[in-house]
Structure formats: structure tokens, C-alpha cells
Symmetry: C2
Subunit: 190 residues, 2 copies
């Protein structure tokens, strides 16, 4: 008896993710979303409830894709190979709306206001860090890196370096590929 929506909800979330990712939370107005997603206010609120609710879905999608991307890379190149390849991959992916990490942008923008979304971004970043730590642990067990390193500490440093790299990659005065290679090279000395 009902009528089906004319839109693809998942596609809209991915589209919203790209807009939020690029422009940030405050930088994206409902006008922007309505225009890009081609939804009138009524449909928007029927579909997602609020701007923040859609942002939360976008963050979730972003984080999920990030982890599964890393997992797939590890499957292909092994744990250390994945960790070494990721820096270049992330700055050379040309289809991304922007190079910087959406989680860190969200956290940086909204933490001072104690916004719910900042907490969600923080949680997603912890999951990602845990994923990195697992890969370092696997690399250690495989003998690819020395046993005298704390995988959690390596993961924190690695994630920190990636955040810096991705921020730097937004600047045209910086050769991000060089930084990415230096990060990868450092992993060989472990």
C-alpha cells in the first residue's frame, strides 16, 4: 500500500559525507544539502531527521570504509605492506573530496563546543587506531618489525603522522609525496 522513496538512501548518505567532509559541519547549510541531494526540506527531514543525524550517518560511513579499506589492503600486501602503502594511497586518491581526514576535521571543529559529533568522531578514531595497532602487532608476530616496540605506541605515532600528512597534502606549497615516502621509510627501521 505505501509509496517508495524515489531516492537511494545509501547514495544520499555517501553524497552528504563528501559535502560535510569538504565543507565541515558549520560550513554546510541545509540549503547546500537540499541543492546537492535534490531534496526539499520536508523530504530531508522525513528521511534523516536532522542535519546532525545525517552527519552522524556520514561519519559512520566514512569510518567503516576507512577500516575495511585498510583491512583489504592488509589482505593484499600483508600488515607491514599495508601500513607502508597507506600514506601514499591516501594522498594520491584523486576521487576524494579533500585530503584531510574527516574524523579529525570534525573533532577539531566541534570539540570546543562539546558537540555529540565530536565524541563520535573521537570514537571512530580510536577504532581506526586499534586497527593500526593490530597491524603492527601482526607485523611484529611475523618478524617484520622488531619485538622491542609497543604496537599501541607505534599506532598512535603512525596515526598522528597520517593526520599531519593528510593536512599537509591540502597545501600546494608542500610535496606531500615526499612526506608520505619518509613516513613509509621510517617503518622499515623498526
Amino acid at each position: 500500500m505505501p509509496r517508495k522513496p524515489s531516492y537511494d538512501r545509501d547514495a544520499l548518505i555517501a553524497q552528504a559525507r563528501d559535502i560535510f567532509w569538504r565543507q565541515g559541519w558549520a560550513g554546510t547549510s541545509l540549503k547546500d544539502l537540499e541543492r546537492e541531494l535534490k531534496l526539499k526540506p520536508g523530504s530531508f527531514y522525513a528521511a534523516f531527521g536532522s542535519k546532525d543525524a545525517l552527519y552522524a550517518l556520514a561519519l559512520q560511513r566514512y569510518a567503516q570504509d576507512g577500516v575495511s579499506n585498510m583491512m583489504a589492503l592488509a589482505q593484499e600486501l600483508g600488515p607491514l605492506g599495508a601500513l607502508k602503502a597507506q600514506p601514499r594511497r591516501v594522498i594520491e586518491a584523486s576521487e576524494l573530496p579533500t585530503k584531510a581526514c574527516m574524523l579529525s576535521k570534525t573533532y577539531a571543529e566541534l570539540q570546543a563546543k562539546d558537540h555529540d559529533l565530536a565524541d563520535q568522531a573521537r570514537t571512530h578514531m580510536i577504532v581506526m587506531k586499534t586497527c593500526f595497532a593490530d597491524l603492527f602487532r601482526q607485523a611484529q608476530n611475523a618478524g617484520e618489525i622488531g619485538a622491542d616496540h609497543d604496537p599501541d605506541r607505534l599506532a598512535a605515532r603512525y596515526q598522528s603522522d597520517l593526520l599531519g600528512l593528510r593536512l599537509s597534502a591540502e597545501r600546494d606549497d608542500i610535496n606531500a609525496v615526499e612526506i608520505a615516502e619518509d613516513i613509509a621509510t621510517d617503518l622499515d627501521r623498526l
Copy 2:
């Protein structure tokens, strides 16, 4: 014959810098500024012209202080000593409104909108990077690091690492001191 302002303009700029630094551009309303600086709208606009103009002054102040701070540190500890000390210094300074770099926050927030302030932040970051490069060059000339390194490349990597570190230092799930020490230790291997 005239009447003098009752406020200290420099102090107001420093205060505005801290508010903008913490809350970002969109996250800071004129209501916020009027309340914190204790200026009514009329006085505010007579003194600074616009929100963006005050933000530009705040950015400038921030960048100037950053460079002169680094110069002073180099005077005290030498070029390599300053570069090694800075990571810990910047995350342990307890009087800062927030750990993350104001220039990178500004750039990340406003770059997508092609805002003037993003360009200004970018320019300030280049100056800072040049300052780092000079210190690496001095350290090289002093024989403190190998001659087979490009100071500009080292500076770009170093600045990138600092940005990541300072972002990470905002998170309570991360031991930023460990990252800072690892960054400093890496400089010894050059």
C-alpha cells in the same frame, strides 16, 4: 581634544585570538566576542571593522608569536636543540586555549570556501616552515645532522609531524608525550 579608548587594543586582539583559536571561525559569533571582550557592537566595529578583520589580526599575532618563540628557543638551545624541544613544549604548554595549531585549524575550516583567511593562514604556515628549514640548515652547517638531507624536505616533514602531534594532543585516548619524544628521537638519527 579627542577621547581615548578605554580598552587595550593589543590585549583585545590576544583575547580574540584565544577565542577564535579554540572555537574556530564559524564557531565564534559576534555575541561571543562582544561578551568576552566586553565591547558593544558599535565599539567593536569602530575598533576592528569586521569579524574577519579581527580574525586576520588574531592570526597574525598567533603566527608572529610562533616564529619569535621558535627563534628564542634556538637562541637558547641551538638549532637542533630547539627542533627537538619544540614538540614537548607545544603540547605541555598548559596556558594555551587548545593544543591544535590555529593556522591549520583555520586552513582546514575555510579552504573549501576559498576564504581570504585560509590564504592568510597558508601564508603564515609557509613562513613557519621556512623558519624550520633555516634551523635544519643551521644544524646541518654545525654538523649536528648529516649533510645528505634536504633541509626543506626535513622542514616539511617536521611541520607535518607537529601538526599531527598537536591534533593528537587534543584527544585524551592518546599519550601525546610519547609521540613528541618519538618525533624528537627521530631527529637524532639524521
